[in-house]
Symmetry: C2
Subunit: 362 residues, 2 copies
């Protein structure tokens, strides 16, 4: 266990305030779970597999915690749930600021549960420090979806490094799948590297954009366009429709510039409106058609397996980096070395050697 | 020195065949350099600063070598040349396959030396295994430039990891600058990650494309478009002119999608023909105007300083990664762990922990 503790501290996973569980009283399958008590990992797993939302929420809280005892418990539960996971469809959704992500997920999510599916909505936001207030905020943003009996909305784990938040989100997916959710939406706020993390844990990546062929489109981060399996230009309603159509043409031309995807799937661009419901059904049809095609070709399963390997390597590299940069000797020396680099009195390579030497000796 | 040797072996820098020096007899400033002998670092530096091409070539050969004695000597020379370096303009050139990179560099380079500048052309190609034959090949590709007294063409260091090749190229730039070259072109073959490496060592990044709005454009690698300070669509001559114009429009629209650059420079797209000389002069005018604007804003110098810091961090991460993945215990265990990940019997996070544990204990 010492190792894990070191690991957590190396990754700078901060002591987060435990989140109040996201309880939906209608979902309680039995009254014996109602009172919060200390369950064993077996009891947790049993409750999760029975689809008990209170137990699921409590288990997620353990995953999000950084107390050593919670860590052990969480890993035991995840291990037991693992064989029951992975039978879902995982959709990543990101969007430029102002693209109406919450409203879109509300409408899209209601369509998904309307088809008889069970939906969990998770979020990755390494910068977030969710309090009780902002959980309510999330629920208010998705008013109808949050009270739907077949939907489960959970905000991002509390602040930490992207690597830490991404791992926890991945573990929460396992728990949600074991609890019977057959559709998972992972939302990302569209800042920094979080899209890459989401892309590495979903089957299908949906990019939400805004109409207006000018400045509004400039919010696209490097590399995100290439990740998209579908681009939906939201708010294509009222006076904004023409702008949306222009953006559709522009983005459609742009997509043609990129090399073919390993999935052989050809991404397309469409317009939609979460306000008027326009295009929402079609988007889900496209997702389903993606799943059918890639399952048939074998890519779907193969891709998931590769994702698992990639995630392992990313975790390793995160650890190695933070172990290096959190070393006291390195921290103490770095500013001086960087100054020498700025002054041009040392080569980058020699600067690296000096720091590595300190690290390895320390 | 033990550290450096370990470092080199960790980075898997392979024992490369020493390259025959790229001698241009016209450039010999004094006959006493003519015979290859063992110089001291001071003599090497003196010769390089005097602009002696034979000495420069021999020093580069030392940089490219992976013999421990050559390594020490090379580092001593680089250290002495460092204060005399960095007074040049560094241009990165990459292009999709078939874009006519060699012909372009020949024409573009002749224009540059025609303006009274001294030009060194280097290449980054981590996959290359240059023999005497392919050095001749490089020279044949740039027939006139290679015999011009103010031009120096040097192929990529022999095969090794990208990190190793990039470091050596960076060190060769230092030597060339100390030898009085005021313009450096670093060419990359356009495969894999080498563009990012080149981008991290040049002031201006030129992307060569081909006309034809269809499949021909699909060769663009992820993230390269965003790097470009200028896109030149080559071979805009004869029957290909219409295609080039179409590509210009398409790429111009695409560039508008990206967020503004930190340099505040707005990249543009133009057509050119290395065959008819069309646009070649204008491209160099654009480069010079970039330098003037960014020097005035202070970005030029600031950017170079940041590049040095980034290169140091990249070197550190390369080392940490290769130290981990080359560890015998890790190598022995990895295939089994990956199989478990494929089978879904272990989480990525636990898989990483197991390997890290082996690594740290070993």
């Amino acid at each position: 266990m010492k190792k894990e503790k070191e690991y957590n501290s190396a990754l700078k996973i901060q002591e987060g305030v435990s989140q109040p569980p996201n309880v939906n009283p209608d979902m309680l399958s039995s009254s014996r779970w109602k009172k919060r008590k200390r369950y064993t990992p077996d009891e947790f797993t049993e409750g999760i597999l029975a689809g008990n939302m209170t137990i699921l929420s409590q288990a997620i809280t353990l995953v999000e915690s950084s107390l050593a005892e919670h860590y052990e418990m969480a890993q035991a539960i995840i291990g037991k749930c693992l064989p029951h996971s992975s039978h879902s469809l995982r959709i990543g959704i990101t969007g430029v600021p102002g693209a109406g992500k919450s409203t879109f997920i509300e409408t899209f999510g209601l369509h998904i549960v309307g088809e008889g599916r069970k939906l969990a909505v998770l979020a990755i936001d390494p910068s977030s420090e969710h309090t009780g207030g902002s959980i309510l905020g999330d629920k208010t943003r998705m008013e109808q979806l949050s009270i739907h009996p077949n939907a489960f909305i959970r905000p991002s784990p509390s602040a930490g490094t992207l690597g830490g938040v991404a791992r926890k989100t991945r573990e929460i997916i396992i728990l949600c799948e074991a609890a019977g959710f057959d559709t998972i939406i992972v939302e990302t706020v569209g800042v920094g590297q979080s899209e890459t993390a989401v892309h590495s844990m979903v089957d299908f990546f949906l990019l939400l954009m805004l109409g207006g062929a000018g400045d509004e489109l400039q919010g696209i981060k490097r590399g995100i366009l290439e990740m998209a399996d579908l681009i939906a230009i939201n708010k294509a309603d009222g006076s904004n429709k023409l702008n949306a159509d222009a953006a559709k043409t522009l983005l459609g031309n742009t997509l043609r510039l990129f090399p073919p995807k390993p999935s052989e799937w050809i991404p397309s661009v469409m317009t939609c409106s979460a306000l008027t419901d326009k295009g929402i059904e079609e988007i889900f049809r496209i997702v389903i058609s993606y799943v059918n095609i890639t399952r048939q070709s074998g890519y779907f399963e193969e891709h998931r397996k590769k994702q698992a390997v990639v995630r392992m390597h990313n975790t390793i590299i995160d650890y190695l980096k933070s172990s290096f940069y959190n070393k006291e000797e390195v921290k103490a020396m770095l500013p001086g070395i960087e100054r020498q680099l700025y002054d041009g009195t040392i080569t980058s390579y020699n600067a690296a050697l000096i720091l590595l030497d300190k690290y390895l000796k320390g």
